[in-house]
Amino acid sequence: MKGKFTDNLPKIYGLYTGGFAVFIILMAIAEQAGMSAKTIGIMFVSFTVVIYAVIGWLSRTVEVDAYYVAGRQVPTVFNGMATAADWMSGASFVAMAGGIYFGGYTYMAFLVGWTGGYILVSSLLAPYLRKFGCYTVPDFIGTRYGGSLARFCAVIVLVLASFTYVTAQINATGTIASRALGVPFELGVWVGLISILMCSMLGGMRAVTWTQVAQYIVLIVAYLLPVFWMGAKLGIPFPHLMLGDEVSRIGELEAQFGLVKNAAADLKAAGVPGGLSSISVAHSAVPDGAMAAWKFISLTICMMVGTASLPHILMRYFTTPSVKSARKSVAWSLFFIFLLYSTAPMLATLSKLQLIDPNLATSIIGKSIADVQAIQWVQDWTAAKQVFIADFNGDGILQLNEWFMRTDVVVLATPEIAGLPYVISGLVAAGGMAAAMSTADGLVLAIANALSHDLYYKIIDPKADVQKRLIVARALLIVIGAAGAFVASLRLTSILGAVAWAFDFAMSGLFFPLVLGVWWKKATRQGAIAGMIGGLGAGTAYLIYVGPAFMAMTPWLGIDHLRFGIIGAPVCFILMVVVSMMTYEDNAEAKAVSAMLDETRIPVGKTILGNK
């Protein structure tokens, strides 16, 4: 191909998408020809993972700029796709629709929280960090505030937040790999890890960028195709605009069946496996009272502010060619995220209706339990301990509160429930794998880069040459990945618990040091250090106080372990402002900071750190 690589990107990814479509069609033909469901699943996951590995290998590099920030030449729209893949984790792909299915309106706070944060990213941070020209987020903190201690504190917050997040992602890759390839979970985790490292190790940010774009294409096709197909089967060509009647129908059915919350003792007596739930919350009704509204809003605050503090997202905007394109790129990112997030509630609505509406052939609620147990997908997923039937009242008829599913099943089993061909289930598995891998890649790279650039190069050995720096960076990548896989294989928390914690850690320690670093010239080093340590400390202490796995005390004002950033971030803010005001002096250093920020605030000119 002629011309610059970046000019050819639309053509390259166009071919890639076409190739993927051909692969799906080939698999569909193979299914008709009698290829087994299991083989199709293995083909889908291994074919896509091999493609990512090839992209990772082609993007290998020995240049520092390419390794850390993809040479700062990722075009706006492609960076948007890469960020969307970086952002949408295994939890978004596999668990979100299921969460909405079981949690209804209350759970949908995540949809708002996981999108609105991008406004903070764009208006407060991304363009300024891009102008700064840093390689990592602690690089900004270290240069803006000066001194190794501030840089070190930022590294601590980054590692804590990102590591919490990455274990959840490796856990998800392990779950999907083990299911698709038919290996035990513990082995699946290591298969997932190797796939992740193949994408990132040789080419750093450059390789991660181009694999993430490829992963976005797979995951969005895998998410949208089943929903539109299912919609078409029900005579609804465009579900997003046309499910009003279905949502109110679910409301009617809820009233008819009754939403029963099962007693814990009943669940135990019937032997319902842990992690499986029945529908006990209304689909679209808003729960009563100010406390419910506050719980909704406090969760969205944590997720939004957390979004704007997560280093693996912020660092994606270091890779654009200009400040202007960093801003536009945030908008494109959210657009690509929106395509999936607006589909999740539609998927939840369609799959819920298919199961509970007696007028539909696919429904199971209200049928005799013997008939339901004869259905193929019910048998398969019961064998995998993912669904469960408990006939509490002993009438032989399946009631709404007698049907249990794991949240993941909503996405993973919906194609089978709706009677779509198995090729769609294989596609969904590949999509889930892409979502979890792309996020894990970004996170592992964020941690390894902070440790290699900020801790090793800037603090321990500033004289290290390029070759040595890149060797250290790669060695750290393997160590971090292996540590993440080890922790994931211990299965300490549910996927979602850990994901929300990462947002809370990041907002407790990093949000105000970053924002005030750009917007308040009088923020001082001492203030930032006090804020990072105090905010992270207060948030963590509160997490230990209320966390169900720790002291499990009664949350204060409904601020539970998913929302501990509500405590951490204000502590960080107050400490930072008070200490900054106490320590600010109008000296030469303050003047230098002021001049540096003046330059940061205009797009034109060289970057502060003098790189490209």
């Binding site: 406004i119 679209s284 929106f338 607006s342 003046d598």
Partner: protein
């Protein structure tokens, strides 16, 4: 006031307007979720709709609007980047 100060003043103004819109679609709407839900849009209960799509669409539109506005401000004061590489 210098050119830079004027540029920064306008930039700050845009930031506050953007955050006000963000606050409206991110929080204010959901403070009144209960009463909003009795209204409907496209057949969906309104609070449910805002949560599932409405606020999300608003965020995307605000982001593109913000990027264009800020580019215009940079242009006005001569701080726009020459080329996009």
């Amino acid at each position: 006031m210098s050119n830079r100060e004027k540029h920064w003043d306008k930039t700050k103004g845009l930031m506050f307007i953007t955050l006000a819109m963000w606050f409206f679609f991110g929080y204010v709407v959901f403070m009144f979720g209960e009463s909003l839900n009795s209204a409907s849009f496209l057949g969906y209960p309104l609070a449910y709709y805002m949560c599932a799509q409405g606020s999300l669409i608003a965020f995307v539109v605000i982001l593109f609007w913000f990027a264009n506005k800020q580019e215009a401000i940079d242009e006005e004061f001569g701080f726009a980047e020459r080329e996009d590489n």
